[in-house]
């Protein structure tokens, strides 16, 4: 087995934004193999932009993103394709293809990118669906699934090619606490039993406490990382009062003063 402390993603001096407008700068962090790493921040702080940079959908202004030893930012087209095989992505709403059944959704990457014999593709896809608890829903259309089931199906599709990194964009957005807790359990299971590294963008506090090994917190005022570490530690002893408020769900004093 590989060294558990091995660094699988390393972001160095990243600066990102749209057009002339800088959203984040001076971003540095590392993700270790097998850990659940959470990117946190208030609304509009650039979490989703950072995630788009990490998964190669949107190029940053400056900096380097090393994934498994290759720099995504400087990679040419072939290297990028190679890098895309190394991670799976689950988009915010699941992004399942509406015209395909759940099974066909999971089979799609296997059909397009591998030379496996047909029956084996089906077996792999069904095994992934069983893993996320959706075996019985294999023949359903995505529109027939509940929100939580769609997220699970999206995770199964992201795992179809056995990537070692999964990026999840707000996995618990719009889910009830029970479904959300079930998803958390699945993420923990996959991380611990299969050694999959998770990078998750979320601001669901309950989820963060239960799954995150480490978090970084982005801030729109300073445009950079203002806190890094374990969620429980940051809640109790972060230096920045804004970070403590975030973890303790306290309103901004300015807002509460206005109401009073």
């Amino acid at each position: 087995m590989s060294d558990p402390a091995e660094i699988i993603i390393s972001v160095r001096n990243l600066k990102t934004g749209y057009g002339e407008k800088v959203i984040l700068q001076n971003i540095n962090f590392q993700v270790r193999r097998g850990e659940v790493f959470v990117i946190l921040g208030g609304s509009g702080c650039g979490k989703s932009t950072l995630l788009k940079n990490l998964i190669g959908l949107y190029a940053p202004m400056e900096g380097e993103i090393w994934i498994e030893g290759s720099n995504l930012v400087a990679a040419d087209e072939d290297q990028r394709l190679l890098l895309f095989r190394k991670f799976g992505v689950m988009y915010q709403s699941g992004a399942l293809f509406g015209s395909l059944t759940v099974l066909e959704n999971v089979r799609l990457p296997l059909d397009e990118l591998t030379a496996l014999p047909g029956p084996l593709k089906e077996l792999v896809a069904l095994a992934k669906l069983k893993l996320v608890g959706l075996g019985a829903a294999a023949q359903k259309m995505p529109s027939e699934l509940s929100g939580g089931m769609q997220m699970r199906a999206a995770i199964a599709r992201a795992m179809a090619l056995d990537p070692r990194i999964l990026f999840l964009d707000e996995p618990s957005a719009g889910l009830d606490p029970v479904t959300s807790a079930g998803l958390d359990l699945l993420i923990k299971d996959l991380a611990h039993h299969f050694g999959i590294t998770f990078v998750i963008v979320t601001h669901e506090l309950a989820s963060i406490y239960s799954i995150a090994d480490r978090v970084i917190m982005l801030d729109s005022r300073t445009q950079t990382i203002i806190a890094e570490g374990q969620a429980a530690v940051l809640r109790d002893s972060a230096a920045d009062p804004w970070v403590r408020r975030f973890f303790n769900r306290e309103p901004d004093p300015v807002h509460s003063a206005k109401l009073n």
Binding site: S10, E68, L113, A115, L116, V124, A127, H193
Partner: protein
């Protein structure tokens, strides 16, 4: 570690151009031993990943299918790495799919892998696999469904017509509710912005018809009557039709997409719970704009079409005064009135159908696309049917 070009764990890398070439450590050894007593053993060593599985599959198919086996043992103790595709191969062998009459056992999988392997059994496969899809409905069933669909759609169209009829007059009377600014916005989008494309198409259609008509008429020395023909055809038929079809393609579809997207985003629900009727708030304005602008667009299309025909006859050497005389003697005020009346009706049809299809939008990602398609198809169908009704009526009235 950073900078270390290690692709070892990525079985699918080989599908990518310029990927690392297979090295010794990426190889899989497949050893098949078949005994005379019908007992066989497959020994797998090395990496069983998606890259190695297809070749391994082929070898096993060749070796195992031919032999009549009683038992098959798969020894996986030599596997150094196994991914989802490898486990699927082991499960496939274990289910006996390759060796129909043999009892198959897989052993020697490393602890963690074994747990994952046992996590997906042949019972799971049987329970979850897709049923063989031969669903063919009988003809009466299909016909019945179609009739039911058409009649229910017809009922909805009639109900919608009633809805508009009850909402249109009171809303137009009420200046505050009518939102004239919205009407003018749509007027500009659907009317003024359509002028260039309507010009081009009408001139070209006029030109084409004139060219096609010139030759047969020349046989009778009646080339000058091209002008009469173009005048009548454009004013009575093609002007209104061209304008309406352009409106259906450009704006009917846009209405359906706008309102459909609003429905998908629950904006229509929001309107209703705010106490605002979507028909009064969104549909009436569009229909008013359609009714106002289509006659204008019709006149314009007619003018441009006639211009196209006139250009051809001018090119043939006829003087402009003669052409003008022919036009005025053949086209009467009643023809122009008919064209305008058609414009009003077609405008109402196109905008109403666009709005109705938008309001009928269902759930799902392709719903808005389906609505826009249906808007255009239904609009054009209704336009042609109405045009036929106009022709018959006019013919009967003239008798």
């Amino acid at each position: 570690m950073i900078g270390n070009q290690n692709y070892e764990y990525f079985p699918f890398a080989s599908r990518v151009k310029n990927a690392m070439t297979a090295t010794a450590q990426n190889e899989l050894e497949t050893d098949v031993q078949i005994g005379a007593d019908g007992c066989a053993r497959v020994i797998l060593r090395g990496r069983l990943d998606a890259q190695a599985v297809p070749a391994c599959w082929n070898k096993l198919e060749l070796d195992l299918r031919v032999a009549k086996l009683k038992t098959l043992e798969v020894d996986a103790s030599g596997l150094r790495f196994c991914d989802g595709a490898g486990l699927a191969l082991l499960r496939y062998l274990n289910m006996g799919s390759m060796t129909p009459h043999a009892t198959v056992s897989v052993f020697g999988l490393e602890g963690g892998l074994d747990k994952i392997f046992r996590g997906f059994t042949s019972e799971d496969y049987e329970a979850f696999r897709p049923p063989s899809r031969i669903k063919c409905r009988s003809l009466p069933d299909e016909v019945g469904n179609w009739v039911r669909h058409v009649t229910s759609d017809l009922r909805e169209q009639v109900a919608f017509l009633g809805d508009i009829a009850t909402n249109l007059p009171p809303t137009i009377m009420d200046r505050k509710r009518m939102r004239w600014a919205e009407v003018f916005r749509i007027f500009e989008l659907a009317g003024a912005n359509a002028v260039p494309i309507v010009s081009l198409i009408s001139v070209l259609v006029g030109l084409i018809i004139a060219f096609e008509a010139v030759e047969p008429l020349a046989k009778f020395g009646a080339q000058i009557y091209v002008v009469n023909m173009i005048g009548l055809v454009m004013v009575r038929e093609l002007g209104p039709l061209l304008a309406a079809i352009m409106l259906a393609g450009r704006s009917g579809s846009a209405f359906a997409a706008e309102i459909g997207t609003m429905k998908v985003n629950e904006e229509l629900n929001a309107l209703e719970t705010l106490g605002l009727d979507p028909v009064r708030f969104l549909v009436v304005q569009r229909i008013a704009a359609g009714i106002l602008l289509t006659p204008l667009l019709t006149f314009y299309a007619t003018f441009m079409g006639v211009l196209g025909g006139v250009l051809v006859t001018l090119g043939l050497g006829f003087p402009l005064t003669l052409i003008f005389h022919q036009l005025t003697s053949s086209v009467h005020l009643s023809d122009i009135a008919l064209g305008a009346a058609k414009g009003v009706v077609f405008g109402a049809i196109v905008s109403a159908v666009g709005c109705l299809r938008g309001l009928q939008t269902q759930e799902g990602p392709s719903a808005v696309g389906i609505s826009t398609t249906r808007a255009v198809v239904t609009s054009i169908l209704l336009i042609v049917i109405t045009d036929a009704v106009f022709s018959i009526l006019f013919f009967v009235l003239k008798q």
